[in-house]
Structure formats: C-alpha cells, structure tokens
C-alpha cells in the first residue's frame, strides 16, 4: 500500500516540481524506469505467491535499474547504444508481460 501511495505521490511531485533531469542521466532514465516497472511487477507477483521478501525486492530494484543503465552506457561506448537500448527494452517488456500474466493467473483462475 505504501508502495502505491509512494508511486502516486512521486508522479504528482514530478508533475508539480518538474525536476530537470541531469544531462548525464538523460539517456539512462527511460531504461531505468522500465527496469523499475519490471521489478515492481515482479514484486507484486512474488507477494501474491507468498514469497515476497522486502530485502530481495529492494536489492533487485536497485540492481535491475543499475544494470539496465549500465548496459545502455556500455552500448553507447561500444557504438551500439540504440540497438542495445532496444534489446534491453524488449527483454524487460517480455518480463513485464510474463509477470502480468502470472499475476492474472493467480488472481483469476479461469
């Protein structure tokens, strides 16, 4: 519950304050956001499975975001930034969909 409140408050804050994204972070923020959404979906599924662990969630959240950003950074350095970004987005998208599917199966049996 606190998570949802935090999400809503964060969006409202972001719209109201309109923070400026530092130029250094700009290429990584979209990927990081998608990674975080993936982690969020994973966390919800885990809690419905009864296997939710806050510590696991926090570490995986930070790790996923960091790794996604790092992959994009690495891709930029290698000159394949656009392609690697696409790859990361595709993988994360697949994960989000499969997590959502699992949650749906848990909540609605048929």
């Amino acid at each position: 519950m606190i998570a949802i409140i935090g999400l809503v408050v964060g969006i409202v804050l972001g719209v109201l304050v309109q923070p400026d994204v530092p130029a250094v972070l700009q290429p990584y923020l979209p990927i990081a956001v998608v990674a975080a959404l993936d982690t969020l979906a994973g966390g919800l599924r885990a809690s419905l499975d009864g296997a939710f662990d806050a510590h696991v969630f926090i570490t995986s959240f930070l790790f996923n975001v960091a790794i996604a950003a790092f992959l994009v950074f690495l891709g930029d350095q290698l000159g394949v930034g656009a392609q690697l970004s696409t790859a990361v987005i595709v993988v994360l998208g697949i994960r989000i969909f499969s997590n959502a599917a699992a949650i749906r199966r848990l909540l609605f049996r048929s």
Binding site: M1, I2, A3, I4, I5, G6, L7, V8, V9, G10, I11, V12, L13, G14, V15, V17, Q18, P19, D20, V21, Q26, P27, L29, P30, A32, V33, A36, L37, L40, G43, L44, R45, S47, L48, D49, G50, F52, A54, H55, F57, I58, F61, L62, D76, G79, G81, A82, S85, I94, R95, S98, N99, A101, A102, R105, L106, L107, R109
Partner: protein
C-alpha cells in the same frame, strides 16, 4: 517466466491468493515497506520527469541519433538544392522564351507598320516637302504630273499624296474626257498639292534639276513651288485589295 508460479487449483488456494493481495495492499509501517515506498516515489518522479522530457524532441537523443538526423537533414537540403536549381533553370528558360516572343512580336509589329506605310493602308507623318503646282491654263499633262511623282520617288520619297489621293504602287495618273487630270480615277482641280515624306534636302533639289520636273511643269504653262515642312501629315489611305490570282511562293 511463469515457471515458479503455482496456478491455484482449488477455491481455498484462490482465496489465499486474494488474502495475500489484501495483505500486500494493507499499509504496514515497517522499515522495508517504507524503503519500498521511497523507491516507488523515486520511480514516480522519474516517470513524470521522463514523460515531460519527451516533449523536447532533441533532448536526450543519443549522439548516433543526432548524427543520423543531421545526415538526413543534410540529404534533404541537398535534394532541395537540386530541385531549386532545376526550377531556376525552368524559370530562366521560360523568361528567355518570353523575351524571345516579345522580341519577335515587336519585330513583327515594326514590319507590319513598315508594310502598312508602303502599301498605303495607314496614315503617315514625318519631315518632307509640300509641292504646289498651279495650273491656271490647265496645260499640265498627266505625263508631267507622273514625272513629278517619279522624280520624288527617285529622290527617296517614302509616302506621296496628291491632293487627297495616296500614291501607291498601283496608282495611275490619267486624263479625264474634259482634259482634267485624274489620279486613280479621282479628278483633280488646280492648284494641285503634292505632299511627300522623305529628305527635303534631297527631294527639293531633285525637282529643280534643269530639264527636270519643275521645268516640265513650266513648259506646260504651270508653276511649281516647293516648301520644306518638318511635319508633313498624310492622312489619305487606300483600301487593301486581296490578291485574287496571286499566292505567296512557299
């Protein structure tokens, strides 16, 4: 990805899942829940910031993308340059074509004017001379008047008029039954006035050549007076007759 997830098989298990959902959604003021909330807060801010960032089209575009965009606009510009050059060419062609048409038209107009003056279908004006031939005795013969006309033509007269009759290529000078002079069938009355457009300095002496036109008129008992005029107006015209038997050789 759904390997680890057990699909509930009985209503009890189903209820258990819903209970877990309610439990998850229930606020719990534990430290880990607070951290999760904080992370979600950060996520929300990021989403909002990113969504807003998306409005500025070129911000946050990777270097590669920028190079591609620059490339694309460069190519686009080159295409437009080529198109521009083509259009300039077309414009030039059309303009010069128009100029050519204009020149041809004015040349044709000029030629038409020349021909109209030569054929006697248009009024004319210019410097020239006015010749008055007085013939109190009525002795001036048609041949004498023709001689005056010929002399004027020799001296370069471009347009000639006798009284109110235009003298053209087909003009005839004849004598009527009563002895009066006729030009193209129009009877003349003395004194006769001959207007000629041309160089007065040439035509005047030409008429006065000893044994020439002036002397012929004097021999017929008439007098011939010449006055130079800077603006001789010849209003008489002849109708143009369509050639009946003649065609232009093509």
């Amino acid at each position: 990805m759904s390997d680890g997830t057990r699909t509930p098989e009985s209503p009890e298990q189903q209820r258990e899942v819903w209970r877990r959902l309610r439990e998850t959604l229930r606020p719990q003021a534990t430290a880990s829940q607070l951290i999760v909330g904080l992370l979600c807060l950060l996520l929300g801010i990021s989403i909002a910031a990113q969504v807003r960032q998306g409005d500025d089209s070129l911000d946050g575009v990777s270097q590669q993308e920028l190079v591609r965009l620059l490339d694309e606009s460069g190519r686009h510009m080159a295409d437009l340059e080529v198109e521009n050059a083509e259009l300039e060419d077309t414009l030039e062609t059309l303009t010069s074509g128009q100029e050519g048409d204009e020149a041809a038209r004015s040349a044709a107009e000029k030629r038409l004017e020349d021909l109209e003056i030569l054929a006697g279908t248009a009024p004319a004006q210019g410097r020239g001379i006015v010749v008055s031939i007085d013939d109190p005795a009525g002795g001036v013969r048609s041949a004498t008047l023709l001689g005056v006309i010929q002399e004027l033509r020799n001296a370069g007269a471009e347009v000639i008029e006798i009284d109110d009759v235009r003298v053209v290529a087909s003009t005839a000078v004849t004598t009527a039954d009563d002895g009066a002079l006729m030009v193209d069938g129009t009877e003349l009355e003395a004194p006769y006035t001959v207007r000629a457009i041309g160089d007065p300095a040439v035509m005047e002496p030409a008429l006065r050549i000893p044994g020439g036109a002036a002397d012929s008129v004097a021999a017929d008992g008439g007098t011939l007076a010449v006055v130079a005029d800077d603006d001789v107006r010849i209003e008489a015209t002849v109708p143009l007759e369509e050639p009946e038997h003649t065609e232009v050789v093509k």
